[in-house]
Amino acid sequence: MKRIKLGLVIPSVLLIAIGLTELFFISKGMFVSQLSKVLIYVLLFLGLYLTIRKSHILNYGFILYYLSIPLLMLTLFLGRGGVNRWLNLGFFKLQPSEIAKIGLIFLLSKIISDDKKPLKNRLIKAGIVTFIPFILVMLQPDLGTALTFLFIAFIINWIGGADPSLIRFFLFVPIAMLASAHPLATVIFFSALAVITFVFKEPLYKKIVTLALLIFTSLITPIVWQKVLKPYQRDRLTAFINPEKSKTTEGWQIYQARIALGSGGISGKGPGKGTQKSLAFLPAAHTDFILSSIGEEFGFTGLLLIITLFIIFMRTVLRLMELKEGHEKLIVSGIFSYFIFHFGVNTLSNLSLLPVVGIPLPFITYGGSHVLVEIAAIFTLLKMEV
């Protein structure tokens, strides 16, 4: 199907081009570095595309997972305080957690689609392999990436036909956490939950376990919030709610991002003319806030183009998903979850709708590792399509 191939390649090439354009106006050095990385990866995967077969990916893709786990451990040992996300390979700083993401997609789809084994065993195994990188990345600490693993696991399990009660549990956990912020919200949530639990026809033990786990979640959340998180960590997570009032750096960053976006207006200030970006009011203009940077210089129009390209890309992935079954479908759904999570979280945090948790904007944010994984994902999708 030529349409699917074009629907995957054209938007991603254009998105990479847009990212490189913005990087060009941010810093020539970053532009050159990013461009050379992209070219190397594209050449690498063109080579792989011609040599590797689909069955190789299906059967051996999961090895990436087992490669990334020791690397993740290594980051913990090599880092001395602060944030330990990167391994310095001399020419290139590798972020093993990015490799772990695609590795997890391959491994989970293999585990879930292996219908020779009972579902219960598969789910337990899936839980364990998700939990390991989750913990390792939480220790870095990198909440955003850790949540990515959960999201990917949730989507693959769901598409793979996991127990609906498990899915419900996954959905209800974040709601229970949010509701625990206020006693009234907690009461409402559990009342609603009681009704839902009563309506669904399920074995009683499942209902009890689910309910018990959710009650546990809503009890533990305030304790973690109050006792475990330090004030600055709490501020980071809440700064986006009222950035103007926040005294933290995060609050200031989010507020400046809003000014950058808003002052771009419909058509933007023009390439290289963003004052927020060039006078360093907008922090991390090349990473977390590159979307705001583009919004400042290319305006609403420029961002609509990015969104449109993204929609085309995502719809193509969904289309491919519909055409596939079993193992392949799970891989495609994992890749879909990767992109929608990254795009959604990054964009929403630029728009003060979510906390800033260091999730890159696919194809666009400066940095080698995530682009490597994204090109690998496209290569995988193209292989699945064959």
């Binding site: 400046q256 808003g262 419909i266 006078l279 360093a280 998903m321």
Partner: protein
């Protein structure tokens, strides 16, 4: 619903939220947020306006301005270490780090610096970020301005109270005294603005991101004084270290002379502040308006007013002066110890007989004297348009509350001694009230058309008698100032010799001219110079001579 459908719907929901939010930011809030983006980097600096010029009544320039420099810091970028560096350069600053942390665009650290001072500052090269050297107009005064320093006043940096009261910034210049203070808002002008662009770290990106707004110089001001007369007064006072001369037009209120010695140099007040403050001669004191002196015999004019008003005295009333006046067990000597013999009122004024007025006072009585003065309703200050005028001390119940009053008090008051203390300007105003038959313009030092008047409702005959007496002071052969008589000058006046605890008597002379249709009053006071006829009266005559000749 199959999972793909749910995922597709979730995708669209996400896209909808994103676009809605972008619409809010980039279209609905565009104007507001782009303004914020601009003010993130664009900082506005005030350009101080030059103060308006000050001229004398003939258009002679007295105060102007010249370009100088100032130093600003951008508080947002000043760290505590920077603050220490700034402090080591300029000494203890009135600005503290709290002020720095405010959201002000800038804090003015030093203003009105000369070029060499700026060069010295730049040589020290403080590695303090966000220090800006900028042009700043500075007030200058001409050489002759010092002769009128007490009219002009001086300028200086605002105090804390002034900053709050007038909404000014630290380091701003404000009029501190004289007309510079009274007409500050007029002279100040309208400041302009200059724009600079800074990045988020406080580095200067551009010093003209948009064209500056030019400041508007303050309004020019024309004073009523004649600087030539001020200079002339100074030459007449050359033998006397301290004194004052005050003259104004009783019809328009224009003050043509306001001279106070010693005076100060308005451009050097701040530099020489300490020496001015410790100087026992008090050069900063405006003797015309703030100097309180016993009026001596000049006060006999008021005693006469009180006597005639209360009918305890008539022009025909005669008292004998044996050279002294005894009341109770105390005797007051007349200045002419051999006595004046028997005198009527006019002669008593002309010859300034103390015993005569002691009698007038004693006849009235202490309490009645105060009651009559209350009824006369004389002003206690002139109301001139210069800040800081003192209130005089005359026998009014309200003013003498704390004092011990005796039946003999009035004997002192009647000859301008005891508790009575007045300013030369007040004496001139009383002279003006007499000359104008109860109506006199309030003196003012700026030329405008708003003349205010003081009216005292006293029968006109009383003023006629007083004027007759004052004329005789000069024209009668026995008058205390008769030796100065000059038929061309047509002066009527009154001498005064005020005893005081600081040495020789203060010499007073207060007069109006011309006799028939009085236009001007002039009061001269020379501290510790002896009899009124010896020092003050000759100066007054010379001033009138000069003034009338220059006027014609």
């Amino acid at each position: 619903m199959n999972p793909e459908k749910i995922l597709r719907l979730s995708l669209w929901a996400l896209i909808f939220v994103i676009i809605a939010r972008l619409f809010q930011y980039q279209i609905l809030e565009y104007r507001q947020l782009s303004l914020r983006a601009t003010y993130n980097y664009l900082k506005e600096y005030r350009i101080n306006a030059p103060r308006g010029n000050i001229y004398d009544r003939n258009g002679v320039l007295l105060a102007s301005w010249k370009p100088a420099f100032r130093i600003l810091v951008i508080p947002r970028f000043v760290s505590p270490e920077d603050y220490e560096k700034i402090k080591s350069l300029f000494g203890e600053l009135q600005v503290n780090p709290d002020t720095f942390s405010q959201k002000n665009n800038y804090v003015q650290i030093k203003s009105q610096l000369a070029f060499d001072e700026v060069v010295k500052f730049l040589e020290k090269t403080p590695e303090v970020r966000s220090l800006v050297v900028d042009a700043d107009p500075v007030r200058t005064y001409t050489e002759d301005a010092k002769f009128a320093s007490h009219v002009i006043g001086y300028v200086g940096e605002v105090s804390k109270e002034e900053m709050n009261k007038f909404k000014l910034d630290f380091g701003d210049i404000i009029g501190k005294s004289g007309i510079e203070k009274y007409q500050d808002s007029l002279l100040r002008g309208q400041s302009g603005a200059k724009f600079m662009a800074f990045d988020s770290k406080g580095n200067l990106v551009s010093d003209s991101p948009r064209p500056p707004l030019a400041p508007k110089q303050g309004n020019d001001l024309y004073l009523t004084i004649d600087i030539r007369l001020q200079r002339w007064a100074d030459s007449l006072f050359q033998n006397y270290p301290r004194g004052a001369a005050f003259a104004f037009n009783i019809k328009t209120g224009d003050v043509i002379l306001l001279y106070s010695k010693p005076y100060y140099n308005p451009s050097e007040v701040l530099k020489k502040w300490v020496s001015y403050i410790v100087n026992p001669d008090k050069p900063l004191l405006n003797r015309c308006l703030q100097g309180l002196y016993p009026p001596g015999s000049t006060f006999k004019l008021v005693t006469t007013m009180a006597g005639l008003y209360s009918h305890t005295l008539t022009p025909e009333t005669r008292y004998n002066c044996p050279g002294g006046f005894t009341f109770g067990n105390r005797t007051w000597l007349c200045w002419r110890t051999e006595g004046h013999g028997t005198l009527d009122l006019i002669d008593a004024i002309a010859q300034s007989c103390n015993v005569y007025f002691n009698n007038v006072g004693a006849r009235i009585g202490t309490n009645q004297f105060m009651e009559i003065l209350e009824k006369l309703n004389l002003p206690v200050r002139t109301g001139i348009d210069i800040p800081g005028e003192s209130q005089v001390l005359i026998p009014l119940k309200g003013l003498l509350k704390q004092r011990l009053l005796l039946p003999s008090s009035v004997v002192n008051w009647s000859i301008g001694q005891g508790e009575v203390q007045v300013t030369p300007a007040w004496m001139a105003l009383i002279t003006g009230i007499i000359a104008g038959n109860g109506k006199c313009a309030v003196p003012k030092v700026t030329i405008d058309n708003h003349t205010k008047y003081i009216s005292v409702s006293i029968p006109a005959e009383i003023f006629a008698i007083l004027k007759e007496g004052m004329r005789k002071v000069v024209e009668s052969p026995n008058g205390t100032a008769s030796y100065l008589y000059d038929p061309n000058l047509k002066i009527s006046g009154k001498t005064g010799t005020a005893q005081n605890p600081h040495g020789r008597e203060h010499s007073w002379f207060t007069c109006f001219f011309p006799n028939d249709n009085p236009e001007y009053v002039l009061t001269v006071l020379v501290e510790n110079a002896g009899h009124g006829s010896e020092a003050a009266a000759p100066i007054a005559f010379q001033l009138v001579r000069r003034f009338t000749s220059e006027k014609n």
